[in-house]
């Protein structure tokens, strides 16, 4: 009986773990409190991209820092040098949100048609409502880590 109770508790804990962490901000390095609130508020507006399973990370950044990060985030061999956020007031606070789930509907070449839907999107939440899609990809290529500002 004890074993059954323990197993049930373990199953429930495993299934709820990610959601609980996301809600509580337990993985603190991945969740800035203000950004987390803003990203959670934006969740209904991202369901149009597909099925949202969870908010994976939420970072507060100024537009200036966000622009600086985007200018160099692909490294020296990747695409360089432009960010729409460079035109924003540099001190405006934005939220960078990573959502995991199943996302499709984005343009892609016919040669990539057979690939599965993306499983992660990144958005930038602006003001009190609304967002701009920053990226759609796979978790392996689109890490939900705190941006390193150069």
């Amino acid at each position: 009986m004890k074993a059954i109770l323990l197993a049930s508790a373990l199953i429930a804990a495993t299934a709820c773990g990610d959601s609980a962490r996301a809600l509580s901000g337990g993985t603190s390095s991945l969740f800035d409190a203000t950004a987390q609130q803003r990203c959670e508020a934006e969740r209904p507006n991202v369901t149009g991209y597909g099925r949202v399973d969870r908010l994976t990370a939420a970072f507060s950044l100024t537009a200036g820092d966000l622009a600086r990060w985007m200018l160099t985030r692909h490294g020296p061999l990747g695409p360089q040098g432009t960010s729409r956020w460079a035109d924003y007031p540099a001190t405006e606070l934005l939220a960078l949100c990573y959502f995991d789930g199943v996302f499709s509907g984005f343009p892609r070449p016919a040669a990539a048609a057979g690939r599965p839907p993306y499983d992660r999107i990144a958005i930038v939440a602006v003001g009190s409502s609304g967002h701009v899609l920053d990226a759609a990809g796979y978790r392996a290529d689109l890490p939900a880590t705190r941006p390193l500002i150069p």
């Binding site: 360089q80 343009p107 990539a112």
Partner: protein, 232 residues
């Protein structure tokens, strides 16, 4: 008696655990698209593609999801008329510019790029004019320029060249009827040189029965998505 109670309790706990797991795993109830089809023409076989150009007069597809809907690009089962410079044969890297249609009343220009499998939209512009428009993406001095009607919309410095260029129709909406649209004056540049008309043109993807395509000439491709159950 005691054994029976324990048995019932065990079953209840097992059901509770299973339900908890299902609820926690299911996330949002929204489904992703099951319809995703192309009608695409290609120019390949050359070295170092650095530009793609087309002229197109869009018409709004009929049968789009009725509005109002969220004014967010790339949502609402979109239909795209678009063109690509595909950077690698695995098609994980590309630059792209096109038009998107979501639900009724939604239409937008978009341009962006993909790198290492992740797609990055650069920007969008709402409610472009339904007239003859000229779309070109080309690279000069290792900078990609995204132009519409000769007006620069964005730049993206990137020392990359394409293995081929594509243009055509991509749809995530199985219920629309687009009518025939021509992608014409198809041109490309190689190694940042002059514009040349496509010559080795062929249909690279034509997902029948909904998607239709007619290669009128090496520089003119007519595309259409037919309504479900109708012929091209």
């Amino acid at each position: 008696m005691r054994t029976s109670r324990i048995s019932r309790l065990t079953r209840a706990l097992a059901i509770l655990a299973a339900l908890t797991f299902i609820i926690a795993s299911s996330g949002s109830a929204l489904a992703t698209h099951t319809f995703h089809k192309y009608s695409v023409v290609r120019d390949s076989g050359q070295f170092a593609y650095t530009g793609v150009y087309s002229t197109r007069t869009d018409a709004v597809p009929s049968g789009l999801t009725p509005g109002p809907c969220t004014a967010t690009p790339f949502q609402n089962s979109p239909v795209y008329y678009t063109q690509w410079v595909v950077i690698n044969s695995q098609a994980t890297d590309w630059v792209e510019m096109g038009t998107g249609y979501g639900c009724e009343g939604q239409r937008y220009w978009f341009w962006g790029y993909a790198w290492q499998g992740t797609w990055y939209p650069i920007d969008t512009e709402w409610f472009f004019p339904l007239q003859q428009n000229y779309y070109d993406i080309h690279r000069v001095g290792e900078i990609w320029y995204f132009n519409i009607n000769g007006v620069n919309k964005a730049i993206k410095p990137w020392n990359a060249v394409g293995v081929y260029v594509d243009a055509g129709l991509e749809s995530y909406n199985g219920h629309v009827n687009t009518g025939w649209i021509s992608h014409w004056e198809l041109q490309r540049t190689l190694s940042e040189s002059s514009w040349y008309y496509w010559s080795g043109t062929y249909v690279a993807a034509l997902h029948t029965p909904e998607m239709c395509g007619q290669l009128v000439s090496s520089t003119n491709y007519r595309t259409r998505q037919a309504a479900p159950g109708t012929a091209c």
